[in-house]
Symmetry: C2
Subunit: 616 residues, 2 copies
């Protein structure tokens, strides 16, 4: 399908210049990310795809975009028309390698983003002449880049680019190039530097070789290592990272390759500072680079098993943006702290469509769940005391104000929400949301009981009352929780018929229609079972699987991996393996059809690894 | 408050140049509308406010705006710094008159938009010198106009103007000025002409008078009448219009003035072609000039009693755009015809916020109700047979596909809708929507029974099943219909406390919070009682009043007038009079605070007149 060759520690392909390959062969080190756009590739201003983690700039009002940065690894060659292209990405060394030939010469190009000193990146081109010819090779920085912001309403395609870098000053002095610029509104002042080891024009005799190497930095430093040293140090750091990863059965090289690809994707996008990870990491500007619950629920449990320090960064970002979340709650006439549905580093709501941004409120409880999961996994009680506890308290206060007390039924209603299943309309009492909110409240009460935070007696009484009386839709007939108050009223739907061509339903059925059909986009009650299994008896969990799995369209990339987790937990090994395979090859085989145009699905990688972890 | 002097057949003021006066002294003849911007008034490019009914142009995608047209009645005077301004608008003659003086002279200016030949408009300035001075007076057309489109999300103020007229060619030949231009995307090619009776520079001796008059057309004709003839013919036509209006008690000049102001507003905005009326008529570009259900439910019942031909135009527009409504339904994976929530002449959905555009679906049943109301009032069976019946049929088909059959309860659910009360969230089984949909289906079944349309037997059976089994929320405790499935779950709210300062709640409470409070923006169940009183026993209607009226914030301008109607119908004369007075003075006294910035509330005028009609 995708033309990928699978090796135990690498992927390779002859299809080097497609958008799909630019996504799959993406490189990142958590600080910098680059789509696989190499010398001679044609790329428009918004397609270079070099990003820095946390580098966002304002588009309008408080809406930001992840900045497309000047391409530090640009190389302009006079000998064009490449053929016999081939490229590989090595998960052990982190090296992207591409080879091609022309009438004149054989070329071998490689590129590294350092895992040992994450401000560094470099590349090397080796040319071997097949006949005498003059080659001009300019190792450069391309600052002619623009952004192409993705509309929040993703049904409309944006065609308007916007320049988000300004005041560009480029200086060449000897073998150093220095680039200073700022982002458009002055949010970031940046200084890049690049040390050229060769370049210019050269006559090559037949059989003669020429190597052009350079190392660049995003922190403007003058003293840069040589390319080979940087590459060696990076590989060593990466080796140490792989050593910390759990062992798994790698007897099947195709599966081993896919597993390592997914883990490597998580490694490449793991921040080394207290920020979160966008839905597409650093691999694409989709969703304007914004952070979602993807980080806490889909990526974080996988990071806990491969690089817990990344999990901590993600959570520290939420702890540090608690004040913003409190402002957000106040702006919505609520108490406590309400995390935004999507946000960049400024932690301000970026979702411009009301029904989503205002209704998918479960993200706040997801953050609290993840904090607790981290503490449980690491035993880091100091983190809980000094950081997490205050979040528990303020988010629990939010939930108290968000529940509506219903006198008639003496219960607490969770009105006008959307759960994880985005094919459901705005509805009431989504079980996932309410149960996660209750879990959030329990964490606050528990923290208060242990003296980590203080709560007023009235507050505590109200919280306990909500734990007792929050309405949870349940079906005796189904023997398990209902997704929400509306679920049983929805129209029957022939899912297998409608999914015959494999494409997502939302391409053919408008949301207004989808919301009235008994069809699920991604796990909702089943996800609740994964996160809080203690809420389910074995029988209720099996019943949930039987009711919901067959109605799930998996039109979200976050679906397959979590279904693998649930299937394995429920002893459904065959179904689990089927889901796990789909999850592992979701990007590699472009199974959702959007890896080319949107980049890597980092949350889906995390979900796939969560599925795999069930097998260990 | 607003500084208005009320005369039986006119309003007057000394506050001539405020935005409020520009709205209140607006003139229109249904074809052309002009805000009251007169010589020496300062107006930016988007503030001239000359509009033509049906003249819309594309902004982007399929979104249009009502075009700000070149100002045909522009007059530039050298003698500035006016003082002692006063102006009046005469409802009998349609003449706007303004007087002022300067150190040099006394001025008297008047303006007419013809009610006898609606493509004509003209003005006259009379100057009487207080001392000798040189006056330059240029009677001109100002084509330096732009649009300032109103964001669909009205919480964000737009500051970006856009030029929607292009290819402007102005020619002066003798005493004729000729202006040809097109709208930006070429949707309209327009030809204006203007005949000048005087102008230029003139030395005036003390006591000497000078009159400058001109008549202009929007159809480019060469032969234009003189100003005085045009004014006389217009007044005569208007006299005939007033003669057709019902009689009412005009013993109180203040009330008489307000009543005539509201009727005159309806006259000034009544189309003379098959189009509808924007929420602000031709008095302002608010809502981009779009048509809403305001026309069918709030204006139309009033037009039926004063100018039924306008009611017919409004309805013919809906009949003629049935095909577009069918395309709209198909695009939403539904059958039949679905009218857009807001639209311009192209009849394409203009609402860009999903929850409103997709959920306020009652507009389709409102159109059917209005068609039936017209037929009942006029007895025009030919209109019903040739135009309305097909609308009944296709809209009924839409409703059949929009209801969701619920096997568990053996009923039809109306899922994910918003009723007239816009403070309610997206909810299920809004009683107004379902009852109006049932009424719509009944109209189709009745038309089929009488052979006006054909329906398949299966369709008819399904329609009858829906009439039997559509879920209608009802409270035995309240003794009347519930607004929707969510109403009883909402949180109690101290409305009188919150409304102390009189301003609309949405200025202080965000919608996410408002939707969970038991507070109503505008009549919902009470409106249903007005439109379909046969659904209510006297007791149920009184109970509805007792439950809902006290919870209504009247934060919609459509609220007071309809509460007057309901109060009078229920024998609550004192409450009815209170509501009627507020409704009649809503614009005149700027009681909602937005008549200045948004123009005249034509729907509210219709509602006020509906209230008044209950007294006759």
């Amino acid at each position: 399908m995708s033309g990928i060759e699978y090796r135990a520690w690498a992927i390779a392909t002859c299809d080097c210049t497609s958008e799909l390959s630019r996504s799959l062969f993406f490189q990142g080190n958590g600080k910098v990310g680059m789509r696989a756009v190499c010398p001679l590739d044609k790329a428009r201003g918004h397609e270079h795809g070099m990003f820095m983690a946390g580098c966002f700039e304002t588009l309008h009002d408080s809406i930001t975009d992840m900045v497309n940065l000047p391409d530090l690894l640009c190389m302009i060659l006079s000998d064009k028309d490449p053929r016999s292209m081939h490229q590989s990405l090595d998960f052990a060394t982190g090296v992207l390698e591409r080879t091609w030939e022309t009438d004149n010469a054989l070329y071998s190009y490689e590129r590294v983003l350092s895992f040992s000193d994450r401000a560094l990146l470099g590349h090397r081109l080796k040319v071997t002449a097949k006949r005498g010819f003059m080659l001009e090779a300019k190792d450069a920085i391309d600052a002619e880049v623009v952004n192409l912001p993705v509309n929040d309403d993703q049904t409309k395609i944006n065609i308007h680019t916007i320049k988000l870098i300004a005041d560009v000053e480029m200086k060449e002095e000897g073998d150093m190039v220095d680039l200073r610029f700022s982002t458009a509104c002055g949010t970031h002042s940046l200084h890049f530097s690049k040390h050229l080891e060769a370049g210019g024009s050269k006559w090559l005799e037949k059989g003669e070789s020429w190597e052009i190497r350079s190392v660049a930095s995003i922190d403007g430093r003058k003293a840069l290592p040589c390319y080979d040293d940087m590459k060696r140090a990076s590989a060593k750091a990466l080796e140490a990272m792989w050593e910390k990863v759990f062992r798994f059965d790698d007897s099947d090289p195709r599966m081993a390759s896919a597993i390592r690809f997914n883990i490597f994707c998580l490694m490449q996008n793991a921040p080394d500072q207290d920020i979160s990870i966008g839905a597409r990491g650093l691999s694409h500007g989709r969703y304007k680079g914004n952070y979602f619950w993807d980080a806490e629920i889909f990526m974080l449990p996988a990071y806990l098993k491969i690089m817990p320090e990344a999990a901590r960064h993600i959570l520290m970002f939420r702890c540090m943006s608690l004040d913003k979340a409190m402002e957000n709650a106040a702006a919505m006439n609520l108490e406590g702290a309400r995390y935004p549905w999507m946000c960049s580093t400024q932690a301000i709501e970026q979702c411009e469509s009301w029904d989503t941004g205002s209704c998918e409120i479960h993200v706040t409880a997801d953050v609290a769940w993840a904090l607790d999961a981290y503490v449980k996994e690491t035993g880091d009680l100091e983190f809980e005391r000094s950081c997490a506890a205050r979040v528990y308290k303020e988010t629990a206060r939010y939930w108290v104000s968000r529940f509506s007390y219903d006198k008639v039924s003496d219960c607490y209603q969770m009105l006008f929400v959307k759960g994880p299943d985005e094919y459901c309309g705005v509805t009431c009492n989504n079980t996932y949301t309410t149960m996660m909110a209750k879990h959030n409240i329990k964490l606050a009460l528990d923290a208060a009981r242990r003296g980590l935070v203080s709560l007023k007696p009235g507050e505590m009484a109200r919280m306990k009352d909500i734990l007792d009386k929050a309405r949870i839709p349940y079906s005796a007939a189904l023997g398990t929780y209902l997704e929400d108050d509306t679920y049983e009223k929805l129209e029957d739907f022939d899912l297998s018929g409608a999914k015959k061509d494999g494409s997502a339903l939302y391409h053919r059925i408008c949301f207004d229609r989808l919301q009235r059909l008994k069809v699920i986009k991604q796990p909702d009650v089943i996800l609740l079972y994964i996160l809080l299994p203690e809420l389910f008896t074995e029988k209720q969990a099996q019943s949930a699987w039987l009711e919901y799995e067959k109605r799930t369209s998996h039109d979200s990339t976050l679906s397959w991996g979590m279904h693998a987790v649930a299937a394995f937990k429920l002893g459904r090994r065959k179904e689990g393996m089927d889901y796990l395979r789909k999850a592992l090859f979701l990007d590699l085989e472009n199974l959702m059809g959007n890896t080319a145009s949107e980049g890597l699905h980092v949350g889906a990688c995390g979900a796939a690894i969560q599925g795999l972890l069930q097998l260990l």
